[in-house]
Structures are given as structure tokens and as C-alpha cells.
């Protein structure tokens, strides 16, 4: 309780510092020059569609070009309010909520004025459409530097999308007991968007997979004699206490010239199924010559989708062909296997999407909650598209018939990695991790999704829009949740030996 009070006080203090001088309702400039273009606001919220329960879309004009910014927001019922202090527009949550409440299914009109070299410019107004569809209240992600080899402090955090509240689920220091090797935490995953069944991995020092089973925490070792590694990329079965994992032998290397900079690849990878109740591990797929990775369940739990590499061309196989020379030829297709939840038996493998025949590679598939669509990242090669600037998010209908995957062009960026797509629990919102801001630090972008059509994505709103610049961390593995994780860091830490 006191911790919460402290945390709120700290946030309040910071907010007060930021807002004391920031929250103001300035006058619209009396004289200004008309400008036909849309304002170059950051983040770009011009003509976006947002959920009816999203946090304020605070934005700013570039500080190196403008000295002041004023925005006037008009609700559909004609009420107007102005905001702006310096170059930033920061809207109090309560006022923003009032605006959303009267604008559901309609649009807010935003007019922006910017002062440049002593002259006020009036930009073309834009709309913010307020969807009737709400978004899950929480998301979680790992905050980590766009790391190479070294890492330091990292955390898995959760964020309330209706406010700016962010709290820690776990960090890599509290249970680290060997500073020489350090600790890494990753791959948080939830069953059906709920947090009473969830997991995350702790690697290296004091390692293990932390599994929450109906609220009860345990730490398990998923490595078996017959598996390559312990569990890596997880997916909870939607109804049973079963988790599909890939097991991977992963390596990374660095480009001396290519701006992708980092190459991550698997030397080996298989799929396993972990039974939470019996603590047993069974092999799902372990082709000795091919690489299986990124398992994900269909919404009804009757299929397990996954990516699997295609055989390398004959001339690139065998000794003397180091992965560093063949990595650009490693491509993955999308497959699935049927699953019988009563017997835990898998059916035959079916090819769902042949990316390799188009000289492409597919990764991180996710099936929509209504089971009608599957999204995935697609790039030219490899299994780690988060570092590939050509990677985009694709969507493919799963209904009967000849299905083709379409790039979600509006959702994707041009020339930057867009990857790790995920669905909100109602299937109306999609989110991805994208490096489109600067090619290095990934940020979260959200779009409205209807029958395969998406709207212009918006960047996860921050209380201070400059937070996107000043936070030197990546948003890794974003997941929607319909409720927060209520287990504290300290409670999680109790399952580890001192």
C-alpha cells in the first residue's frame, strides 16, 4: 500500500513538475499564417483511429523548429478546448476521458498552431476518430536496450492503456545471485489474455521458467535430456494447462556494414509441449535437419501453428558452409498440426503458407481470437525479423479456399522492421513492435482491425511525448492483457533460492 502511495506520489511529483507549468489552456494565436500541410507533430496522430478507452494522445512539434505549439480540440458536440505549453500538447486524463465519452463512433477535430521564428503558423486540421471498440486495458512488454552482447538492467513491465501507469512485473536483479554471469528475463506469456495463468523465463543466474498456475507460482526447469534447450518461445493452449515451446540453440553475429547491424539465427530448434499439471515435456516436432520455431495455438486450441525452415539448396549443405555464409538462404514457411486436447496427440503437418516459394521467410504467427485470420512477420530470410529492416506484418484469412497473405501496408513502415504482431482479446486492435522511429529503438504501434482492413497506426501514447525519445530502451514482445498481473516482484522472487 505504502509502496503504491510512494509510487503514486513520485509519479504525481514528476507529473506536477512536468505539468505544473504544462497544463494550460492557452489562447489561439490572434494572427497567424495559413499553412496547407498537416502539422509535423510527434507522434504522428493525424487522422488516426483510437480506442474509446485510450490514454490521452499527447504530442509535440519538433523542438528544433518550433518554439511554441497550441492545439484546439473540438468534440462532436462543439465543445472546444485548447492545450499547449512550449512545443508540447499534454492533455489531462480527466478532460481527455470526457472528450472520448462524447466522441465514441465520431471524431475529434484537432487544429494546431506552431510558432516558428516568431511567426505563428496555422496547419491544416486533422481528425482523431474515436472507435466504439475498446482496447484491452493492459499490455506488457520487456524493456531492454537494443542490445548486442552486453546487457544491464531489464524489466518486464505492464502498462495501463487508459492511463500512463506503468509498473514492474519482474526485473533481472532481484534474484540474480551470480554477478559474473548476470541474469536475463524474457518471453512473458499469458493464457487467454488473463494473468492467473502466465509465465516468463529467467536465464543464466538462478535460471528457470516461472509459471503461474491458477495464481500459484512455481519455478520449473524445462530442459530434458532429449531437448535442445529449456523452453524458449511459448504459447499457452487456450483451454488446457498446456504450453507449447520452441527449444533453440541461438547465436548472433554482427554486420560490419549492413545497417541491420545484428543477425540472430538458430543452429538448432525444435518444438515441445509442456504439461503444467504433470510437469512433463513431450516432443512435438524435432526434424534433425530443419528448424521449427514460434509455436502458437489457434483460438479454439485445435491447431498448433509454427514456422519451419525449408531445406537449404544442395550446394549450401554440409561442412564448409558456415551459417555465416548461408544465413541469407534460411527461410521459414508456416505450418500447422491438428491437436486433440483429450489425448494430447498431434496430427500430420500441413503447410499453411509457403513463404519460401516467394523467396520470403515467415516468423511469429498469431491467430486472431475469432480464428478467422493469422498475422505474422515476413522478411526475406531468417527467424529473427526484429533486426531486419525489410520485415513487415502480413495477414492471411484462415477460412477455406486459396488463401493469400497480404501485407498490412497501412500498419507497416517503409524500410524499418515491423514485427511481433499481436491481437487484442476482442480482435479489434492489433499491435506490433516496430523500429520505424529511428531504426534502432523499437516502439509499439496500434491499429484498428476490421475484416483484414487496418487503419493508420498510432504510437503508444506517453504522458510526455518526449519519453519516446528519452527512453533508451526497446519495447520487446508486446502482449495484450485484459487484467494486470497482481503478483508482486517480491512474490515472484520467492520461488528462487537466495
Amino acid at each position: 500500500m505504502i509502496k503504491q502511495i510512494y509510487s503514486y506520489s513520485l509519479s504525481l511529483a514528476i507529473s506536477l513538475m512536468l505539468f505544473a507549468s504544462c497544463v494550460s489552456h492557452p489562447d489561439v494565436p490572434s494572427s497567424h499564417r495559413e499553412c496547407q500541410e498537416l502539422p509535423a507533430i510527434f507522434p504522428d496522430y493525424c487522422d488516426v483511429t483510437v480506442p474509446c478507452n485510450i490514454a490521452p494522445l499527447n504530442f509535440m512539434l519538433p523542438a528544433n523548429e518550433y518554439s511554441k505549439c497550441v492545439a484546439r480540440i473540438t468534440t462532436p458536440d462543439g465543445v472546444q478546448q485548447t492545450y499547449g505549453k512550449g512545443v508540447k500538447v499534454q492533455i489531462p486524463i480527466s478532460e481527455w476521458r470526457d472528450m472520448l465519452n462524447v466522441s465514441k463512433g465520431k471524431s475529434l477535430k484537432v487544429e494546431v498552431w506552431g510558432e516558428k521564428d516568431g511567426e505563428w503558423l496555422s496547419f491544416a486540421p486533422f481528425d482523431i476518430r474515436i472507435s466504439n471498440d475498446s482496447i484491452d486495458e493492459y499490455i506488457s512488454y520487456r524493456l531492454i536496450e537494443p542490445t548486442y552482447v552486453a546487457w544491464a538492467y531489464m524489466e518486464i513491465a505492464q502498462r495501463n492503456l487508459s492511463s500512463f501507469e506503468e509498473s514492474q512485473i519482474f526485473n533481472n536483479e532481484i534474484t540474480s545471485n551470480d554477478k559474473t554471469i548476470g541474469q536475463c528475463i524474457n518471453c512473458h506469456s499469458y493464457q487467454n489474455y488473463k494473468t492467473d495463468n502466465m509465465l516468463f523465463h529467467v536465464r543464466l543466474s538462478n535460471s528457470g521458467t516461472v509459471i503461474v498456475n491458477d495464481g500459484k507460482i512455481s519455478r520449473v526447469n524445462l530442459k530434458r535430456d532429449y531437448t535442445i534447450s529449456s523452453g524458449v518461445y511459448p504459447s499457452w493452449h487456450p483451454t488446457a494447462k498446456l504450453i507449447a515451446f520452441s527449444t533453440n540453440l541461438t547465436r548472433q553475429a554482427f554486420h560490419t556494414q549492413n545497417l541491420n547491424k545484428i543477425e540472430v539465427y538458430d543452429l538448432e530448434s525444435d518444438l515441445i509441449l509442456y504439461d503444467v499439471v504433470t510437469d512433463s515435456v513431450s516432443v512435438v516436432s524435432n526434424d534433425p535437419d530443419l528448424l521449427e520455431v514460434y509455436p502458437t495455438w489457434s483460438a479454439d486450441g485445435n491447431y498448433l501453428y509454427y514456422c519451419k525452415s525449408v531445406p537449404l539448396p544442395e550446394e549450401l549443405r554440409g561442412e564448409g558452409n558456415d551459417i555465416r555464409t548461408t544465413y541469407q538462404k534460411v527461410q521459414y514457411n508456416l505450418y500447422r498440426k491438428s491437436f486433440d486436447v483429450t489425448t494430447h496427440n498431434f496430427g500430420e503437418e500441413e503447410l499453411v503458407y509457403d513463404a519460401a516459394s516467394q523467396d520470403k521467410s515467415v516468423t511469429v504467427p498469431r491467430v486472431s481470437p475469432d480464428g478467422r485470420f493469422i498475422m505474422f512477420a515476413q522478411g526475406q530470410y531468417g527467424c529473427f525479423h526484429t533486426r531486419h529492416s525489410d520485415s513487415d506484418v502480413y495477414c492471411m484469412p484462415l477460412e477455406e479456399g486459396e488463401a493469400t497473405a497480404e501485407s498490412l501496408t497501412l500498419f507497416n513502415s517503409e524500410g524499418y522492421a515491423d514485427t511481433y504482431p499481436s491481437w487484442s482479446s476482442n480482435g479489434k486492435w492489433i499491435m506490433c513492435s516496430s523500429r520505424r522511429y529511428d531504426g534502432t529503438y523499437s516502439r509499439l504501434y496500434i491499429s484498428h482491425f476490421t475484416d483484414g482492413k487496418v487503419t493508420k497506426p498510432f504510437l503508444l501514447p506517453q504522458e510526455d511525448p518526449e519519453e519516446n525519445t528519452f527512453r533508451l530502451k526497446c519495447y520487446n514482445r508486446p502482449e495484450f492483457m485484459i487484467e494486470p498481473v497482481t503478483i508482486s516482484v517480491e512474490e515472484f522472487s520467492r520461488v528462487f533460492p537466495d
Binding site: A253, R324, L472
Partner: protein, 578 residues
């Protein structure tokens, strides 16, 4: 003793110590600059929130901000001096040190001074934010509180103890020191007992209330400097702070007995002796810092001046010298004359500091290896903080790669720093551009050493660039690799037709032609003098070996006559690049 003389002695003692402190800080001015350059202070709520996650965070934040002042060592030193002056006066009142006894406050200041100048190579890797100021600020707050508490009636002490408990998130270990000091000022009573009880429970209380996300050992004695990195720990560097705490307790207990006339002079001498015995000074340590600073400004002449004045350089210095010669000219004529032997850094704690932490990003950058430079700067920044040094390097690399938005991000961080609002990276010079464009894209592992750089540059012997051909030739000679030498010499000749055969290249050519010739010999004209000198080198060597001279003494014996030749390096080199 006459009270007037006693007074003069007192002031003289203070003056001696002040003079000593000023001199020591002046000698360490390059260390102070590096302190700011390698200390993380980031603008914005994100950094503030992170630093506030742990007790003592606020003072560390203040300390981190103040450390920026070392951009100008004189300004930073004045700020530190001001804080120490306040400590001297407030501390004397807090501990009730009157007359000569006030000189006792020299000792805590000596501890704080020592803590600034004893770091050695830890300065490159330690991660204590705001270290250079936070302990001084914390101690000043502690003595101020103690002074205030001792001005109030004794019955209020319990409230002061409670206040200290409440202030633990801000004051950290100084709150506990305050409780001890205040409890010892009076004869024990129940309120002192409560105070001591609180002393042992404060940490537990606060961990339960506020810091449950953090390990207990990181909460206890919060803010007390522990020098620990994944592979090393130094208890030695914590000594000044243990002494600082112990002195504060001793002052409370015994200060009334320390009023003799000689106390002042004794304190001054003890303070000086203590600081001198613990401080770190090494010419290479300072020269490395100077060379890196000059290299960042592309002041290659000064880099060479420093190199000339240093007979036993470290790896970082040799690499920087060779970058300077690439830019100023004469690499293949004078590099071995200036010396390419390297000597280990003076590193009593054996901490893993190497070329990587000291100079690798700037060296890699100047060799056109922009991605590698970015990675190395990034690896270092992730571990020891996004300090100006790394932000500047990351910004330079992003600019060189044309990553505009990334440039904007790092620029936004630098612009909000006290002394970098107008800082711009040097435009990518023609040498960096030429090398950058001539190297192919390759996938490399996690290598980051000097030998990796030497290996890479020597490996690209078929690069289509005049400058790259020179580098490949030079580094094949550094590696003493005859195969790469012949391959790179061919490429070098292709780009340097009708140019003078540089001395060291000629020396290497004569040697490899003699000792490791290719099947298809490449014949080039050489100077008769150099050839004769080469023959003399081997004759002398054989004579000395035959004479039975200790083989370890032969290099020294031959140094005066042959120490400036490639043959000497090849045969007697201290560092073997594989």
C-alpha cells in the same frame, strides 16, 4: 603555546591542506574531465524514475547533474571545493569542534578528496551514478542535520531519529550515520536505545514499504559506494568511506580531547598522507585520457606529441598513435620508430579494463568501421551508462551511417546536457569515408579486442582503396604475417606506383624476402643503406647469441642501434597479434 601562534599554525595547516588539494586536483584535471565524460546523466523523467528506484537516488541524481561540471575541471573542482568548505564549517559546528579541533574536519574532506583521485581504471567501468559529488552532498546533508539536531533540546532527539528513518530513501547510509552520531552525543537513555533499534530496522522497514523490487543487500547501507562489476570487486576503494564514517563517530566521542595546538598540523599532515597513500597516479593512465580526448577532436598532432613523450605506451596509446599517423602521414615511415611495443596498464585491482573500454570506439570509428564502433560504444554504454563519451560516439556513428532519426535521439540527449547544447559530431573525414566504403559487409562474432582490429585491417588486403591498402600492409606487418604481407604489398604497390617506398615497408620487404619469400618473388628496389643495416642486425644478433648473453637481455642490448627498425619489432615485440 601562545594562542596567537597556535592560531597561525591552525590557519597554516588549513592552507597547506587546501594547497595540497588544489594541486592534487590540478594534477588530476584530465581524470576530472574523464569523470564527466564517463558519467551518466540523462535529461528527462525516465532517467529520474530509474535513479529513484533505489534509496539515495535523489542525491545520486544531484551528484550526476553536478558531475557535468567537470566538463571544465576547474569549475567542477570549485563546486566540489565549495561543498567541502561547507562541510568544514557545518561539520565543525555539528561535531562541536572548537579552535584547533575544527581542523579535524580536514580528515573527512581528505577522505572525500581521496575518493575522487583513487579510482584508477575503475573510472571506465564502475556504475555508481553521481559518485563524484553524491558522497560529498550526502555528508554535507548529514552534518547539517546533526548540527540542527544538536541545536534542539535533547527530548527532541527521538523525533530526529524518526526523521532520520523517514529520510533513509533520500540520505541512505548517511541517515544511519546520523542516528549513530546523534545517539553517541548524549549519555545513553531510552531514546538513544530506540535510536539504535531504528538503526538496525530502518533498512528492513523501507524494503517492506518501498523497495521490495530490489535485493536486500542493495538496500542496506544504501548509497555506500561498493565497487563491484561482474568480474571484479574492490574493497580498497570503499576504505575512504569507512574511514569517513568512523571519523564522524570518533569526532562525537573524542573531539573534546583534541584541542591541543598541534592538532591542526597533525590533521593536515595525516590528511595529506592518507590521500597520497590511497590516490592513484600513473602517466599512461593520464596520457590515455589525453589522447582519447584529442582523438575525439581529431587533433592528431597532439595525439602524436603525447605519443612521442611516452616511452612505454599501452595498447590504446599505440592504436591511437597509428590512427594519428594515418591521418597525419608517415605511418609506414615512422610508426615502428616511435614504437609499437605495448605495455600493460597499471591495474592493481586487475579489473577487466582494456582497449575496449578506453579507446576502441574512437579507434574503430576512425578506421571506418562504423557499425563496429557503434556496437562497442553501445556495449560499453549499456554496462556503464550513456555518458557523454558514448552518446557522442553513438551520435557520430549514426551520422556517418545516415540514420537521421537516431541522430535526433542522441542529439536530444546531448542537447539537454549542460555543456553539449551546441555539440555536433565532426563531419566524417575523407579517410574514414574511404575506409568505410572500401570494406565489405561481413558477419563477425563478439570480438572486440585490439587483435581483432589488427586482424581485420590486415585481412582486407584486396580492398579497392589506396588508404586501405596502406592499412592492410601496416597491420600485416604488425601481425608479422608474411602471407598477408605479400598479398597486401602487391595491392599497396598497385595504388602507390611512382611513390617512394616507405622505410618500414622496405625493411619488412627486405626481411620477408630473406626469411619468408614467396615462390614467385616480387622484386623491388631497396636502399643499400637499409639493406646493410638489415644485415648488421642479424650479424649482431647472432654474435650476441653466440656470446652466451642472456636472451632476455639481448633486446635491450640491441635497442639503441636497431630499436627503431621493423626487424627489431618483428623479432623482439612484446605484444604478439594473432
Amino acid at each position: 603555546m601562545n594562542s596567537k601562534i597556535s592560531k597561525y599554525l591552525h590557519y597554516l595547516s588549513l592552507l597547506i591542506f587546501v594547497a595540497f588539494a588544489v594541486l592534487l586536483l590540478y594534477i588530476n584535471r584530465e581524470v576530472l574531465y574523464t569523470a564527466h565524460d564517463r558519467s551518466e546523466f540523462l535529461f528527462g523523467a525516465t532517467f529520474f524514475k530509474i535513479i529513484m528506484l533505489k534509496p539515495f537516488g535523489l542525491i545520486q541524481y544531484v551528484g550526476a547533474w553536478l558531475t557535468q561540471l567537470f566538463y571544465s575541471p576547474a569549475i567542477g573542482a570549485c563546486a566540489l571545493g565549495l561543498i567541502w568548505t561547507c562541510i568544514f564549517y557545518v561539520g565543525a559546528k555539528a561535531f562541536r569542534l572548537k579552535g584547533n579541533a575544527s581542523a579535524l574536519m580536514i580528515l573527512p574532506i581528505a577522505c572525500l578528496l581521496t575518493a575522487v583521485v583513487d579510482l584508477g581504471y575503475w573510472i571506465y567501468v564502475f556504475t555508481i551514478r553521481g559518485y563524484f559529488f553524491s558522497q560529498s552532498v550526502g555528508y554535507l546533508m548529514m552534518v547539517t542535520l546533526l548540527w540542527a539536531a544538536r541545536c534542539t533540546p535533547r527530548k527532541w532527539h527521538l523525533l530526529w531519529y524518526l526523521f532520520a528513518v523517514c529520510s533513509y530513501p533520500v540520505l541512505g547510509w548517511f541517515a544511519l550515520l546520523f542516528i549513530v552520531c546523534l545517539a553517541l552525543t548524549e549519555k545513553p537513555s531510552w531514546s538513544e536505545l530506540v535510536g539504535l533499534l531504528l538503526l538496525f530496522t530502518t533498512t528492513i522497514i523501507w524494503r517492506r514499504l518501498l523497495y521490495s523490487n530490489i535485493k536486500f543487500e542493495e538496500i542496506s547501507l544504501a548509497g555506500f559506494p561498493i565497487f563491484e562489476i561482474p568480474s571484479s570487486r574492490s574493497d580498497f576503494l570503499s576504505v575512504p568511506f569507512w574511514v569517513l564514517g568512523a571519523l564522524s563517530i570518533l569526532f562525537v566521542l573524542f573531539s573534546r580531547f583534541l584541542t591541543k595546538w598541534y592538532v591542526s598540523i597533525l590533521c593536515s599532515l595525516i590528511g595529506i598522507a592518507f590521500t597520497l597513500s590511497l590516490s592513484f597516479y600513473d602517466k599512461n593512465y593520464i596520457d590515455e585520457m589525453r589522447m582519447v580526448r584529442c582523438a575525439e577532436k581529431e587533433n592528431w598532432k597532439e595525439v602524436l606529441n603525447i605519443a612521442i613523450g611516452n616511452p612505454k605506451p599501452t595498447i590504446s596509446m599505440v592504436m591511437l598513435k597509428n590512427v594519428a599517423l594515418m591521418n597525419e602521414g608517415g605511418l609506414l615511415d615512422i610508426s615502428f620508430k616511435m614504437g609499437n611495443d605495448t605495455y600493460p596498464i597499471s591495474n592493481p585491482d586487475s579489473i577487466p579494463v582494456s582497449f575496449l573500454e578506453i579507446a576502441s570506439p574512437v579507434v574503430y570509428y576512425n578506421y571506418g568501421l562504423v557499425n563496429e564502433s557503434f556496437r562497442l560504444a553501445f556495449e560499453c554504454a549499456v554496462q556503464s551508462g550513456f555518458s557523454p563519451c558514448y552518446l557522442k560516439m553513438l551520435l557520430s556513428c549514426a551520422t556517418a551511417n545516415g540514420e537521421t532519426e537516431l541522430v535526433n535521439r542522441y542529439e536530444a540527449h546531448l542537447k539537454n546536457q549542460l555543456f553539449y547544447s551546441d555539440w555536433q559530431p565532426n563531419p566524417m573525414n575523407k579517410n574514414i569515408k574511404e575506409l568505410h566504403n572500401s570494406y565489405p559487409d561481413e558477419l563477425t562474432g563478439v570480438e572486440n579486442s585490439d587483435s581483432y582490429l589488427v586482424n581485420s585491417l590486415s585481412l582486407w588486403y584486396d580492398a579497392d582503396s589506396k588508404l586501405a591498402s596502406e592499412q592492410a600492409l601496416f597491420y600485416s606487418m604488425m601481425r608479422c604475417d608474411s602471407r598477408r604481407f605479400w598479398a597486401s604489398l602487391r595491392n599497396y604497390i598497385k595504388f602507390h606506383t611512382n611513390e617512394v617506398f616507405p622505410l618500414h615497408a622496405m625493411e619488412a620487404y627486405i626481411m620477408y624476402f630473406d626469411k619468408a619469400p614467396e615462390e614467385k618473388k616480387m622484386k623491388l628496389p631497396v636502399s643499400q643503406d637499409v639493406y646493410d643495416h638489415y644485415n648488421k642486425f642479424w650479424t649482431t644478433l647472432e654474435t650476441l647469441i653466440k656470446s652466451g648473453m642472456d636472451r632476455n637481455k639481448i633486446p635491450e642490448q640491441m635497442r639503441s642501434e636497431f630499436g627503431d627498425t621493423y626487424w627489431y619489432y618483428n623479432v623482439f615485440r612484446r605484444k604478439i597479434y594473432k
